[in-house]
């Protein structure tokens, strides 16, 4: 509407903007944007959460995180495809989903732990870029291995795995309506999963002894070891945990038609995850959650405006990077960051 107006009668654009704004404020639109934003925030929080745990404690920026999310998506999909048939009822499907989540968490944690012990550990004495490079190389390897496996089973690596979509319970594929408010079922599910995951991590960090070790080690790993904490082993556990959470995020995404299980999912999730971690402040879990909310909501708002009104379809994707650039200029250490800029 605004595009055509711009071409024909530019003086009318402000009117059109006001018009759009009123439309935006309508409860059905607002609620849609809110839920969309929160679901995006949930996804980002889950993916970035693992990343920030790893970075906070070990200073490792794990470039392979996206690929591991992707592996989680496929593994979750595989479990579901094997267990779900067309006759399986919706509640059973949800139950199976949690089984898949458990499997994915276990498997990915094991993989993460193994990677840490065999490869990442060797680089602690080197400058931080070495770890970025190593994990970048791992991404290449993991992506290609997945392609080999997928093509072997005649699954298209570049396209979303449709069979995985097919395992969704019906109520998640649809929109749920209450009065004028209509939201995507899967979005609500993602919000629930996101809240559960974040709460789970939070509880682990603040209520358990190991969580205490992690928080102490993140602040001052030397002092922690002088108090008897085997910081090396904590590193392994954190890396495994972070990877496991990434896997869960992936499993969740296999059902979301906006993402889907495909090899490019790795890259699609990695960049937003990094951005969220940095905006929030490297290494603070609280910051990551806050940043995820910020980015998710702004993304949803921008999507609504620019898809409905101004036809520049690429802009929603731009949003996340524009926020990054803006935050890094205005507050380089991130929203909650306490590190000195450039400390890592």
């Amino acid at each position: 509407m605004i595009n055509t107006l711009l071409a024909v009668a530019p003086e009318l654009v402000p009117l059109a903007l006001v018009d759009s704004f009123i439309e935006f404020l309508h409860p059905s639109e607002l609620s849609r944007v809110l839920i969309d934003g929160l679901s995006k925030a949930a996804i980002y929080a889950m993916i970035a959460g693992g990343l920030t745990l790893i970075f906070g404690l070990m200073g490792v920026l794990n470039f392979a995180h996206g690929s591991l999310t992707m592996v989680g998506a496929y593994l979750g999909g595989a479990v579901m495809v094997l267990m779900v048939s067309s006759t399986t009822g919706p509640l059973a499907r949800v139950a199976f989903f949690f089984v898949a989540v458990a499997v994915v968490f276990g498997a990915l944690s094991a993989v993460g732990g193994a990677l840490e012990v065999t490869l990442i550990r060797r680089l602690y004495d080197r400058p931080p870029i070495a770890q970025i490079l190593l994990t970048f190389g791992l991404t290449l390897i993991i992506d290609e291995l997945m392609r080999i496996i997928l093509e072997f089973y005649d699954i298209q690596p570049r396209a979303d795995w449709i069979a995985a979509w097919g395992t969704k319970p019906w109520f998640l594929s649809q929109r749920l309506s209450v009065g004028p408010i209509s939201v995507r079922g899967i979005a609500l599910f993602e919000i629930v999963m996101g809240v559960l995951t974040v709460a789970g991590i939070w509880a682990f960090l603040t209520r358990t002894r190991y969580g205490l070790f992690i928080r102490a080690g993140s602040e001052d790993s030397e002092m922690a070891s002088a108090l008897g904490i085997d910081v090396r082993r904590v590193f392994t556990v954190v890396f495994a945990l972070g990877t496991g959470v990434a896997g869960i995020a992936g499993a969740l995404l296999m059902w979301d038609t906006h993402w889907g299980a495909s090899v490019p999912l790795g890259a699609e999730t990695l960049l937003p995850a990094f951005v969220v971690v940095i905006i929030g402040g490297l290494g603070t879990f609280r910051g990551t959650v806050a940043a995820a909310l910020l980015v998710g909501l702004v993304d949803a708002i921008m999507s609504w405006w620019f898809v409905n009104e101004i036809k520049f379809s690429g802009l929603p994707q731009l949003t996340i990077f524009l926020i990054l650039v803006f935050v890094l200029i205005v507050r380089p250490q991130g929203l909650f960051g306490v590190e000195e800029v450039g400390g890592h």
Binding site: R209, L212, F213, R215, A216, E219, D220, E222, M223, A224, S225, A226, L227, G228, I229, D230, V231, R232
Partner: protein, 232 residues
């Protein structure tokens, strides 16, 4: 019985030869002061004992066992506690969490907390506050309390009075004296009167090696013997 024996250690930071053959001893129940000007290697000696910066040559024995090249957490678990320069309490954790982290066995946390709060009531008052909200003196007490609840036989205390107002120093000194009744201590301290008051024996470090040692009863803060190596 010797708790700690450092024998002819040489420690490097990169190319710099910081400790050039340091030897010292701490016996059961003793407080030993390690003194010297800034930069002579006092903190490095502590770090060497903890294996944070392992020595290239020499031996470090705890109750007879050589602990060189062990992991720091293993050294700590043997019963060596570290009260570092700048206290290094975990700022984002609460006072109570700081103490919990220091207790080696999960079952003994309640007992450990009780011990700490008895010795330092001010910590109990602020148990739920984040450590970064504590004053310098209170943080020092927290650091000391950590050392106590850690079931340590030897405490390595580095410059406890640094940056503290004189009244606070007096309180800290009291706490240190109390602690000394329960553990052995190697005390690095530039505050001469405090060091000589607390310690039974002393070593003087200069240019990376021990240049003098003796009983603290034999010297005073202004004696020439010490003034040679220390800024008064």
């Amino acid at each position: 019985m010797t708790v700690l024996e450092v024998e002819d250690v040489h420690t490097y930071y990169g190319e710099s030869h910081i400790l050039e053959g340091v030897s010292l001893e701490v016996d059961d129940g003793e407080v030993v002061a390690l003194m010297g000007r800034n930069g002579v290697g006092k903190t490095t000696t502590i770090r060497t004992i903890l294996q944070l910066t392992p020595p290239l040559n020499g031996a470090v024995r705890f109750r007879g066992t050589d602990i060189v090249d062990e992991e720091t957490h293993e050294v700590a678990r043997r019963g060596i506690g570290w009260i570092p320069e700048d206290r290094r309490v975990f700022a984002q954790l609460t006072v109570e969490e700081n103490l919990r982290v220091a207790v080696p066995n999960q079952d003994e946390i309640a007992a450990g907390l009780e011990l700490a709060y008895d010795a330092f009531p001010i910590l109990e008052e602020r148990r739920e506050q984040r450590a970064e909200t504590l004053s310098g003196g209170q943080q020092q007490m927290l650091a000391l309390a950590r050392g106590l609840v850690g079931e340590n036989e030897l405490l390595l205390v580095d410059e406890p009075s640094e940056g503290l107002a004189p009244q606070i120093v007096a309180t800290v000194a009291e706490s240190l004296a109390d602690a000394a009744t329960q553990t052995s201590m190697l005390l690095v301290e530039q505050n001469l009167p405090l060091a000589l008051d607390l310690a039974d024996r002393f070593y003087v470090l200069d240019n990376g090696s021990v240049v003098d040692d003796g009983e603290t009863d034999d010297v005073s803060a202004d004696s020439d013997r010490l003034r040679r190596y220390l800024s008064a």
